[in-house]
């Protein structure tokens, strides 16, 4: 089972010191956090994608591409990549590039985003959210698996004879997760393609999460990708840990009370009772997170939110140390003991995807060295060529 961290990249004033990082400091902190997570042996770092303050991570593949160069083992991912408002052509290109640069040490998680105005800002209609996710992903897959794509749909200009480059590493597209909190259609989409499904449970009671995950599992089996218990599931989570649980509680409380997302709402008692937020000792986290499988089955990836609400960098790095040093080894050990042999422990790695594709005879070209029909000295030089493809 994989354990990692995910960041929304919020710029929040530390309620104790009143320090507010500027955007540059926050971006650099994210890089430090990711590198540290790699050094201490966490499995995954995932960055959010946001297009409005107070969030800084607008450009995931730039960040992850850099991290690919300075980390060794950690899987680089997103939480989430906006499938609705990004051009699927750019997604195909950028994430294939990241896949090549990271030598397959990446995957990505698609989501519809949680900020309404991003749709109009990027020229999209929010009422088409689900339809955008469906059409864009269908095109994204084709761009990765087919060398030359002719396509037309509702939400972008048609493509004739389009090849997305670089071609995916070893001819096999990156592994994709779909994340949703409330939309069964997205669970359905993940199941249809046999992709992973992540429920970001951090603001939701576990019963709700379990219902959504188990729906995805049934549909995964329905579409013939394996048994329901073999589907690839991830959960979001949230912890604050100190060896002394009272100290954890006292230290985190002012951050909780002022946090932009839940501050001035439910009390920390209520929130820790009703959602997966756990504030306490390593053993308390192990007990709580080590029991989620009873509701959702054996799952492959647990992500923790640890770097938000204005927590100082030093504290965040200590949280990562506690996770990697004490919590994750115990949780992983327990997960391995109870996992049925024919249920995957982890989401598929690049090597496993390549092996599976070879076995199924589905490896695509890694290079499509056709002649260049397009490049002229100026765009106008190529009006003939352009006419040919649009004809």
């Amino acid at each position: 089972m994989q354990f990692g961290i995910f960041s929304v990249g919020d710029v929040t004033t530390d309620p104790l010191t009143r320090h507010t990082p500027d955007d540059t400091e926050r971006v650099r902190n994210m890089l430090t956090i990711a590198k540290h997570a790699d050094e201490v042996g966490l499995d995954v770092f995932a960055t959010g994608e946001h297009h409005n303050p107070p969030f800084v991570p607008s450009s995931p593949t730039t960040m992850l591409g850099y991290l690919a160069g300075v980390t060794k083992h950690i899987t680089l991912s997103t939480a989430t990549t906006l499938i609705t408002t990004n051009d699927p052509v750019r997604l195909a290109e950028e994430y294939a590039m990241l896949q090549v640069i990271s030598d397959g040490r990446m995957d990505l998680m698609l989501g519809r985003g949680n900020t309404g105005p991003v749709y109009p800002w990027f020229g999209k209609d929010i009422r088409q959210g689900i339809n955008l996710a469906v059409e864009n992903y269908a095109l994204l897959r084709r761009l990765w698996t087919e060398d030359v794509v002719d396509w037309s749909g509702k939400f972008r200009t048609p493509l004739q004879g389009f090849t997305s480059t670089p071609r995916p590493l070893d001819g096999v597209p990156p592994f994709v997760w779909h994340a949703s909190i409330r939309s069964p259609e997205i669970a359905e989409q993940a199941a249809y393609y046999g992709d992973g499904f992540l429920h970001n449970a951090i603001f939701w009671p576990m019963e709700h999460t379990a219902a959504m995950v188990n729906y995805y599992r049934q549909r995964f089996e329905h579409y013939g990708h394996g048994r329901a218990d073999q589907a690839i599931v991830g959960l979001g989570g949230q912890v604050f840990v100190r060896h002394d649980s009272q100290k954890a509680w006292d230290e985190f409380l002012p951050y909780f009370n002022e946090a932009p997302v839940y501050g001035h709402g439910p009390s920390m008692e209520e929130f820790t009772r009703d959602t997966p937020l756990t504030v306490g000792s390593p053993q308390q986290v192990i007990d709580r997170y080590g029991a989620f499988w009873e509701q959702v089955g054996h799952y492959q990836r647990q992500l923790f939110l640890v770097d938000h609400a204005g927590l100082p960098l030093k504290t965040v790095l200590e949280q990562i140390d506690l996770l990697a040093g004490e919590i994750v080894p115990a949780l992983r050990h327990e997960a391995e003991l109870r996992r049925p042999a024919d249920v995957p422990s982890d989401p598929p790695s690049h090597a496993e995807l390549v092996a599976a594709a070879r076995a199924a005879g589905q490896v695509h070209e890694q290079q499509v060295a056709a002649g260049d029909h397009w490049t002229g000295k100026t765009a106008e030089d190529d009006i003939d060529a352009a006419d040919e493809v649009t004809a």
Binding site: V134, A138, P184, E185, W204, A211, Y223, G265
Partner: protein
């Protein structure tokens, strides 16, 4: 014929609450009217006061704590709803509005709803019509034509030449609700997962 479920939403805060008193009278009258139509019914009361903090929390966080979630489920599954609020400052109590705000836009679609309100002065009798009915119309509820406003004086009034006394207004409104409930099929409402189109349908529609 299965037992019909009537959910009462009562948003009064005093103890004892005149809003609750009106709500109970409306519920009793509805049960009686349904019995006259040959239907059994069961009443569940949601006291908004008890859920007040959960309502505010849901407004802030987007999710319902278990007691609020249970109330919302009961309302979504109800065959008929009686919603009663005190009038505060010439409108429905803010707490009542907040409760309705977090119900969700599909919770009451097609559900017969009877509106009631209490107030200190009869001068605010039209509050249910001008300030509460639109909320439920927006939610596509099937709001009955008669809503019941009870001002303090109504509890002792026998009605005048032009005004029917409170009990007869209650009976009239409850009968309208009962008729609508009785006409409704008893089939359960679809859950979150029942209405999901097969993915090939979604693909085709994209």
């Amino acid at each position: 014929m299965s037992t019909r479920s009537i959910v009462v939403i009562s948003a009064g805060v005093s103890q004892p609450s005149s809003t609750r008193l009106l709500a109970d009278r409306l519920a009793e009258a509805t049960v009686t009217a349904l019995a006259d139509l040959g239907q059994q019914s069961q009443v569940t009361v949601v006291e908004v006061r008890e859920l007040a903090h959960d309502v505010v929390n849901m407004t802030l966080t987007g999710f319902a704590a278990a007691p609020l979630a249970a109330a919302q489920q009961a309302i979504a599954d109800a065959d008929g709803v009686i919603a009663v609020t005190p009038v505060y400052t010439a409108g429905p109590a803010g707490l009542f509005k907040s409760f309705v705000d977090v119900l969700g836009t599909d919770a009451l679609t097609g559900t017969p709803v009877l509106l009631g309100a209490t107030g200190g002065t009869a001068r605010h009798s039209l509050v249910p019509e001008v300030a509460i009915r639109p909320l439920f119309t927006y939610l596509h509820a099937d709001v009955v034509p008669t809503s019941v406003f009870a001002a303090t004086d109504d509890w002792a009034d026998e009605g005048g030449d032009d005004v029917k006394p409170l009990p007869s207004r209650i009976t009239r409104a409850a009968t309208e609700l009962a008729e609508r409930v009785a006409r409704r099929p008893t089939t359960a409402r679809p859950g979150l997962y029942d209405a999901v189109p097969d993915f090939s349908e979604l693909l085709g529609g994209a």
